[in-house]
Symmetry: C2
Subunit: 139 residues, 2 copies
DNA sequence: ATAAATACATAGTAATGTGATAGGCATTAG
DNA sequence: CTAATGCCTATCACATTACTATGTATTTAT
């Protein structure tokens, strides 16, 4: 139950685009350098985001990417769903054991609620928070 | 962001033990056959549950496993935590990008709340529900 | 005592996913 | 034209998953 770097880096890209919104295209090179990530790897992550219509690309020199919609209209769920795939908490659809079904449903709903109510604007506006707590990321 | 069969089958074992509570030890063979699972694989899953003190083993013929505590005292979180490891939503502890921190914290808290408030008794008492909806497992 | 049933242990393995790296083609501003 | 950038395909090392295989140790029923 881990969110891979796909989703995390994808969100990083989208947050950067949200911060630069209205200022012309932002290149992946810029984002990669600012976040110390591999530009080539980010290319692979933004391809599905483009195909999903979440970003628009401007090709050629001084090109880059812009958000396809306002930061208030794009949610973390939009991004995570594209990059982490059709997220299945459990795989077996015809689960022979109904005992666990309600548990997964409750967890799914909880995650879904958070993802779909957090917009890129929410995330971009917290970029300057600095408090850190490593344990916070363990369940 | 998927819960593997480790966690699922582990819960299956624990739910079976909860249902048979007070009726002597239940063998893995019985549980494996009832749920159409590999007994050998279940052996590997129950080892950490035993080491964590969630179940007790009775060796020898007509032995098996019993819950180490009442089904009302053991939560889904106890089981999932043991089998899915120290669950990290994200890995980087010293995250350079604080923008996403609050998102992961919210999701973590939501999942944690569900896992820690669902007991084996809750799960065992829903064993006979039969409604099915495949889409329910996608986020 | 013996045989059956069961827990306990270790190793191997095919398939898949992750997190990249490498190289090159296509497009466009200047 | 040239540099900057997007776009595309391939490859790869590593870890994880979901088992399977092959035992050994322990206890009970007979």
């Amino acid at each position: 139950m881990r969110i891979s770097t796909k989703g995390r880096y994808g969100l990083t890209i989208m947050i950067e685009l949200a911060k630069n919104q209205g200022e012309g295209p932002t290149s992946l090179k810029t984002i990669a350098q600012a976040n110390n990530l591999s530009e080539h790897y980010l290319e692979q992550l933004i391809a599905p985001l483009r195909n999903a219509g979440l970003v628009k690309s401007i090709r050629g020199a001084y090109g880059g990417y812009i958000l396809a919609d306002a930061p208030t209209k794009i949610t973390a769920g939009d991004v995570i769903r594209v990059l982490e795939g059709p997220i299945t908490l459990v795989e077996g659809i015809e689960d022979e054991e109904p005992a666990q079904r309600e548990l997964w449903i409750r967890i799914r709903d909880a995650i879904k609620s958070v993802l779909d109510h957090t917009t890129l604007e929410d995330l971009a506006s917290h970029s300057n928070d600095t408090e850190t707590d490593g344990y916070m990321f363990y369940i």
